[in-house]
């Protein structure tokens, strides 16, 4: 085969690859596309027509309704207060679990002690405990602590549940971090936290991104803990969305439901778009070197 012929097949193969990729991209975008389209229609166009069609009259009314006036359970508050509940729950829980994971990883790799692998094994074990198993013991614990039905209670649950994962991430990342740097800092006179703060943490960007993204996704999207441990005034947005969709009074406002679902998914979507490449990079750096 001539060189020219080879390059022509190369172009053909490339075109085919892009075509297949495009089809898959469309396929995966379809559900989200339908949600967006239908959230911008009046309800009559959905009930009386084609879900796939573009809106004939464009409207932002469903978005406004889902945010501030829709019936959630018994009160017409919209998703807004629950959205804030989710933020008040997710931000401290993500921050705490990431910080503790980082310190754990630091201790487990750079301040080894007798039985450290056993401790790490047990922490790793917590990654594999199904959510359902801990519901009743956790409910009891929250009751004893006086945190039942509160946002701090949910923060505690997610924080404790997240430590296993974040410890795993940071331990594997710091295992590849040169121990000689820690020793050099010890000789330079830096103490436990100073070494962590000045030497390790500034080099931990990729793994912090991994930990934060992972934790935000899990905590924001959690439904089971939210529905089990929260009261009406502390429910996260996922539970509120369920209540919105399942409201038994009146007609089903599908366009409002679609808009509400997008609201609930927006923060995790945003995090992936903004920090997704750090996520992949961080996972790679941990796995390849560790």
């Amino acid at each position: 085969m001539t060189v020219e012929g080879a390059s022509r097949t190369g172009h053909a193969a490339r075109a085919l690859i892009y075509l297949v990729l495009l089809l898959f991209a469309l396929f995966y975008l379809l559900p989200f596309g339908i949600m967006v389209i239908n959230s911008l229609k009046p309800l009559s166009e959905i009930t009386g027509g084609n879900m796939m069609a573009l809106p004939r009259t464009w409207t932002l009314e469903p978005w406004r309704a889902a945010w501030s006036t829709a019936q959630i359970g018994v009160s017409p508050t919209g998703l807004a207060p629950y959205f804030w509940n989710s933020i008040k729950m997710a931000v401290p829980a993500v921050a705490l679990s990431t910080i503790f994971g980082a310190v754990n990883g630091y201790v487990l790799t750079k301040w080894r002690f007798r039985g450290d692998t056993l401790i790490f094994g047990l922490m790793l074990f917590s990654c594999f405990i199904p959510f359902q198993i801990v519901l009743i013991p956790m409910a009891r614990s929250l009751g004893i602590l006086g945190l039942a039905g509160t946002t701090p209670g949910l923060v505690l649950v997610h924080f404790v549940y997240g430590i296993g994962f974040t410890t795993l991430y940071f331990r594997n990342y710091y295992a590849a971090f040169p121990t000689e740097l820690v020793r050099a800092a010890m000789i330079d006179g830096a103490g436990f936290f100073r070494i962590f703060w000045r030497i390790l943490l500034p080099s931990s960007g990729p793994i912090i991104a991994v930990s934060v993204i992972w934790q935000i996704t899990n905590i924001w999207n959690d439904f089971l803990f939210g529905t089990s441990f929260a009261d009406f005034d502390s429910q996260p947005v996922t539970v509120a969305l369920n209540n919105l969709v399942n409201s038994s009074t009146g007609v089903k406002e599908y366009n409002v439901h679609f808009a509400g679902a997008i609201y609930a998914a927006l923060p995790t979507l945003l995090v992936y778009v903004v920090a997704g490449r750090y996520f992949v990079r961080g996972l790679m750096s941990g796995s390849v070197k560790g």
Partner: protein, 368 residues
């Protein structure tokens, strides 16, 4: 009482003992090199001096202060690591002054110290850079700067040159030697490279299997090795070790070996060999003692001529190394570069027996 005393120090990990009762007294201003193959315990010993590893038993003292259990930062030592261990997130200037900052030195003093060290190592133009933007040699300089700035009692070097390419390594070796000559600070230096050990040190401790095999000046170690391990480890190419039989008579002692054809070759040896008549020994001859007749040391007392087949020649520029057979073993000789030898030919050779050494084949210890 030495400046740095290592007194019957041992190290065990569980039931495994990796250092067996090490004793070294280092005087102020000495350059002590710990040399040995990997796993011999030299880095462990250095880390124990630094305080990075605990001492299982025995005592380490610096300036008569017992260091057991003292935190590394309070021993007034500085260490240069094999990987340089520069803090990747800090500039060169920050790297060098970090230790001073941790010890609470005021900013103006830190800057004065930085300027002094940067000038000494000629790294003034690198101070704002991050370590990632430096070459290997520059990183090495910064790592030394970080150690120098502290003005410590003892410098500890852990194989500092092993990550550099061959040419740079030789340059840095000279610089370290100059630095030691200028500052006169006590240095303990770990390496597996016997040439570094020979060139840098005022004294060498050859280590193997967690024991000090021999402690002495480079010349003592090279010319008077205490055992077969030291003899074979120090020197490149390494010493030729040949099975021989010793004959002692009124005229002196003779070691008898077989040449390539199996004919006996009688080599005179000097020393006190009482009780060794007729016994098997190991004869050690350095490559430079087996040479072309014109290259033999004219001041030597005992030079034995021999004719032997040359199996391999390796011209190295300054010298030509040849391989020939003696006593059924390959032996290496070091000839002058312009010596007329070719592989496969019989050549005239000369053996300088002045510096030949003998060992007991059983205990591997030096005799005579």
């Amino acid at each position: 009482m030495g400046f740095l005393s290592i007194d019957n120090v041992t190290k065990s990990y569980g039931a495994v003992r990796v250092l067996h009762g090490v004793d070294i007294e280092v005087e102020e201003g000495e350059f002590l090199v710990l040399v040995g193959p990997s796993g011999c315990g030299k880095s462990t010993l250095l880390n124990m001096i630094a305080g990075l590893e605990e001492i299982s038993s025995g005592e380490i003292r610096i300036r008569d202060r017992v260091m057991n259990g003292v935190h590394p930062s309070r021993r007034n030592i500085a260490m240069v690591f094999q990987s340089y261990a520069l803090y990747p997130n800090m500039s060169v200037a920050k790297n060098i002054t970090f230790g001073l900052e941790m010890h609470g030195t005021p900013k103006d003093q830190r800057e004065a110290a930085l300027a002094r060290v940067a000038g000494m190592l000629q790294i003034e133009n690198l101070l704002d850079r991050k370590p990632a933007a430096l070459s290997g040699g520059q990183r090495q300089r910064v790592a030394m700067g970080r150690a120098l700035v502290r003005d410590p009692d003892v410098f500890l070097f852990d194989e500092p040159l092993s990550n550099l390419d061959a040419k740079l390594r030789v340059d840095m070796r000279t610089e370290i030697k100059k630095l030691h000559a200028r500052l006169g600070t006590t240095i303990v230096y770990v390496t597996h490279d016997q040439i570094e050990a020979m060139t840098l040190s005022t004294r060498i401790a050859v280590m193997s299997g967690g024991h000090i095999q021999q402690l002495g000046t480079p010349r003592q170690i090279y010319d008077d090795p205490a055992n077969i391990f030291v003899a074979a480890f120090m020197g490149s190419p390494s010493m030729n070790l040949l099975p021989a039989r010793l004959h002692v008579s009124g005229q002196g002692a003779v070691a008898e070996i077989a040449d390539a054809e199996g004919a006996p070759l009688r080599l005179p040896v000097r020393g006190n060999f009482a009780g060794w008549d007729g016994r098997a020994v190991v004869l050690g001859i350095r490559p430079e003692a087996l040479t072309d007749p014109g290259g033999a040391d004219r001041a030597a007392r005992d030079v034995v001529a021999l004719r032997n087949r040359i199996d391999v020649t390796e011209p190295a520029g300054a010298d030509t190394f040849v391989t020939t057979t003696l006593a059924g073993r390959d032996v290496i000789g070091r000839l002058r570069a312009d010596a007329e030898v070719r592989a496969g030919q019989i050549a005239d050779l000369a053996v300088n027996m002045d510096k030949a050494v003998l060992f007991d084949p059983e205990t591997e210890l030096r005799i005579g």
